[in-house]
Structures are given as C-alpha cells and as structure tokens.
Amino acid sequence: MFITYLRRELAGRRKQTAIVAIGMALAIALVIIVNAVSSGVQLAQATVLESVYGVGTDITVSQTPTAPTAGDTSGGPQRFDFGAADGTATDGTTTVSRSRLNATRGTSTFDSTALATVTAVDNVSGASATLALENTTFNGALPTFTPGTAPAEGATPPEGGPDGAGGSSFNVDSFSVLGLDPADEAVGPLSAVTLTDGRSLTKADAGAHVAVLDSSYATSASLATGGTVAIAGTDFTIVGLVTAASADAATAANVYIPLDVAQTLSGLTGQVSNIYVQAASSTDIAQVQSDIGKALPATTVKTQADLASSVSGSLSSASDLVKNLGLWLSLIVLAAAFLIAVLFTVSGVTRRTREFGTLKAIGWSNGKIVRQVAGESLVQGLIGGAAGIAIGLLGILVVNLVAPTLTAGTTSVAAAGPGGPGAGRGFGGAAQAAATSDIVLTAPVTVSVILIAVGLSVLGGLLAGAIGGWRASRLRPAEALRSIA
C-alpha cells in the first residue's frame, strides 16, 4: 500500500512533485558545480605550490632577508674579476669565461644546525634543508691588453656591449641551482617532480659532482643525461632529468646537486636557505609552526595556507570567486530549495486534511501517515537530487570542455627561488621575479561530490517530510466528518 499510494500521489500531483524536484535539482546542481570548480581551483593551486615546494611539505622555514651590509666585499654575481693571465689570446682578442655560484638574490642563508632544531620540534615527521643558488657565467671576448700598451689614462673597463670600447663582446648566462640532501626524497622540492630520464639523486651521491636537471632547462641549454654541466667552473655529470608533476607548472630549480657540494662550491659552508618541514598530521601544523617560530626567532615560518595566499593571478581571483560568491550562492539556493520543499509539503498536508482524517478514521495509525508524507517528500527530494546530479555533471562537462585557462604566479615567498627555464631570465635585479604558469582549470567529479548531492537531497526530503509529517500527525480523525461546502 505504501508504495502504491506513494506512486499514485507523486504521479497524480505532478505539478507539486515537479516544483519541489526542480527546486532541489537546481540547488544540488549548483552545489555540485561549485564544489567541482572549487576543488579544481584548489587542485590548480596545489599543483602550482607542489611543483615549487614539494608534495609532502606542510611548512617552509627561511631566513628573514636582511639588507647587505655596507662594505661587503664578496661581490654580487654581477662582478667578475679577471687577472692579466686569464683567458686565451688569439689575434689580439682574449676569450674569457668565468662562473660564479652565489645564493639566490633576495634570499639569505642561515646555519644548517637549524635543521636539527626543527627536527627536534614535537610532531615534526620529516625535515629537509636546501640551499638555493644561482650560477652565473660570463663568457666574453675582449681586446688583448698588452702590458705597456695600456692607454695612458689607465685601464678603462670595457663598456659592456659588442660595440663597446675595443670591440669586446660578452654574454652572461645564469641558471638556478638547488643543493639538497640526496638521501631525502620524501620532503622537499624533489618530492614533487617526475623522473623522465636517468636516475634521481641518492644517498651515495653525497659529495659527488652529479646533477639532476629540469628537463625543459636541459632542452633549452642543449644538455642531456650522461653529459656534463658546468657549475662554478666545475663539471657535473648529469645523471637524470625531471619535470614538474604537472605539465603546467615549473619546477623549483634548473639544476639539483647534493647539498654538501653546493655548500663547498658556493663558499657557503654549513649554510642553508630553506628547510622543508612535514608535520605528523594536518592538525599539528599550527603547533609546529609556532614552535619552530619560537625555536628559530630569526626565521620566517610559512604554512601551505600562507603559501596558497602567495599564489596570484586569475587563479587566485577564481579561488576567491568560488570561495565567496559560489559558496554563498549555493547556500542561498539550497536554503530556498529546502524552503520550497517544506512549504509545498506543508500546504499539501493542509490541502489533504480530509484525506488524512479519513485514513485515520478508518484506522491508519499516525506512524503510517507520517511515513507516507515523509516518503513522498523523500522521493521528491531524491528525484530532484538525481536530476540535480545530471544537470551538475552536465555543467561540469561544460566547464571541462570550455577549459578556462588561469594564470598563476607564485610571488616571492623568500623560498626556493622558483625558476622557469633559465634562458630568458633577467640578469640583475629580476632574479626573484614570480614564476608564472598557465593552468587549465579542470573540474574533477569526485565520489564525495555525488555523495554530498545525494545526502543533501535526502536531507531536504527528510526535512520537508518531517515537518509535513508532524503536521499530518496532529490532524484529528474527526476531520473526516468536516462537512464540505
């Protein structure tokens, strides 16, 4: 009887069924689409961040940058010193090539004992230190200065261009180098990359002159596995190539080498520029962040959430839009749909006062009538839910077909010095420029979204059914005798 009556009511009162179901369907479709786009945006953000900071990284620790002290004689990467005997002289021209390896501009280094301090903090499950460097190579041809024929006014430095004084020509090339602990693959930048050729760095590589290259950098610099790359004038054997896990994003550095070698070559012995920290669980992140901050007061400690706020561009606008407008819109529409379902159910019960009174008069229990009303609303909700899922999936399909492209920039979090393929990198002050990536937004359909949709339609149906059923249960059986006009 329950099923027959339910079916007859829903089929016999199509308009009411349709209105409740359509309201529910629109709300649920909206929830599904907003949810999918939102996780798509999150996914895009995670991709951008992971490629720079590593997969399992919850927290990064870096030195708060300080202005260089006056009288610093170590010289910037833009300063090259040549002695008279340097270079090879041919036909009155001296060809020189000089390489320097320095800390990435904008970052400061700190003592690597901080790693032990971080590891000792409660609920830190893993930590790894890196040293972000920049290798700058000067290649040039200068007129040979013969002793004694120097201009009377003294040595005038070449003016910096092929057409400069004396017909000299030179170029400057730079790429980013990241020194990391080759034993540690779980935490840090190398955890986010995919090996495309050769092998990754291993424990045995400590102290060895081996390097792993970003494959797009390798392509642009015409380098390959088995060959060598010169870093600070030292040849490193290229053992492997990696790409960012997502084709859209850039990896953290162009070249990866063992940390100890990086420290020795750059003269930054015992120094690191970043520590990547993994917390034991996501609920510990706040505590770990604050404990590290206390243990290392001179450092900047950032969580993934802080890092996410560093993602800029249309990706971050999309994220804000989804978070604010999308969330509120779907909540409002959902509330309206629930309200419509409740109002229609209650008005349906009122309209059927005599019907329910009659059923009570012929012996139907309250429970039986409540079940009937609740069953009707629940099925209306489920019909709406099913339609909503269909409309929602269609909407997601449209989003994925349109595939809007978002740009994302990770602006300077004084971290790993994100570097795209080095060829086009500015020389000078622009070293810390943001890495921009274009990310195609894909809205993933997850089981949880479908479950949420089903759950919401059940919830809406039960809510309306509970209120309507409560109304029906309060009707007196004597209503059956109410005279009709």
Partner: protein, 223 residues
Amino acid sequence: MYELTNVTKKYDQGKRSVTALSNVTLTIPDGQMVAIQGPTGGGKSTLLQMLGALDRPTAGTVHLGEADLSRLGDGKLGVIRATKIGFVFQGFNLIPTLTAQENVETALAPLGLGHADRRSRAAAALEAVGLGDRGGHLPAELSGGQQQRVAIARALVKEPAVLLADEPTGNLDEGTRDEIMDLLEGLWRDRGLTLIVVTHDSAVARRAQRRLQIKQGVLKEVA
C-alpha cells in the same frame, strides 16, 4: 452493543463553550438499524464521533462491547476503528489519486494482510456493491452514486460490527439516494450489522427500525 451513559461533549471556542452533546444516555443493541435526525448544529455528527471512536466525550462513558471508548488512548481507539467500525461520509472521502480497488484496500492496510489477500477481499467487496468491473477507475471517473458505493465497499471490506454513516445520501439525487439506501439496508440485513445513519431526510429515516432526534445536544426517541 453500545452503551452511552451521561455523555456530554463541550467544545471550547475561545472564551465561549459550545455544548454539542448534553447528558446523552443511550443503548443500541447489536444488529439494530438506527436513524439520527435533527436540525443543523444539533449535535448529530458529534454523537457519531463518540460512537465511532473518533473523539472522547468531555464527561460520561461510551462502551462498545467491553471497550470504554471514553478512556482509551489514541492508539487503541485507532485499532478499534480499524477492526470494528466502518464509516461512510456525506462527501464520499475517497482518495482522489487512488483507484476504486486501491481505495477499498486502504481499509485493509492497518490489518497487516498479505498483498494477494488484500486484493481479493477488496475485489469481492466491490463486487458486493455492484462495481466489480470498476476497480481500476479513479474516483473522478465515477458518478456520485458509484463513488459512494466504493466508500461503502471500503467501510465493509474489513467486516466490521458497526457501520456509521453521516448523511450518506446528502450529496446524491433522489434516485441515487434510494439505490444507496437499498444497498445499505440489504447489507445490514445480510451481515447482521449495527447500522447507524445520520440524516436530514425523513424518507431515509423512515427505513430505520428506530429513530432518534437530537436538538441542541439533547437526545430524544421518536415514536
């Protein structure tokens, strides 16, 4: 057998209190056919509610056999309605979305019968009121007289001891009225029911063995 003792029913309407039944004492033996007449607002429907276990009196007792309807809880009254009492209403009160057959089956739903049993009993009840071939029709597809026949089948399908009818012919023309009264009278005679009919219509009342009149809540036998 019904035994009503000093039954009073008052309705509170804000500050005013309406006495719909005043000190009604009445005995109805099993198998009797009784007509209740009276002016509008006299208390006929209220009395029927007391007899039908639809409501409890403000004072007094209502016995149906052993059960005291004035003291039982809603659940127990529901069970008595489901098993012992059949109702026929002036407005037929069929469920518009259900077919004739399904409407009759609603009376069997509280009894926990099997599906097949329910179907065959409902079909037999429709046969008994002369609508064996109309089981698949919706109420809107039936005439008033036919709808009231379906309602009578619904009231009798559970084989109750008592059949209560409130103006069963009030919405029907004279010809149909007589058909329905013939049907009710026949069923009453065949099944040994207690049949209590509330009516304005003297032609209907004249068919009964016993006639009662109720005016301003006070009950009187009509000679």
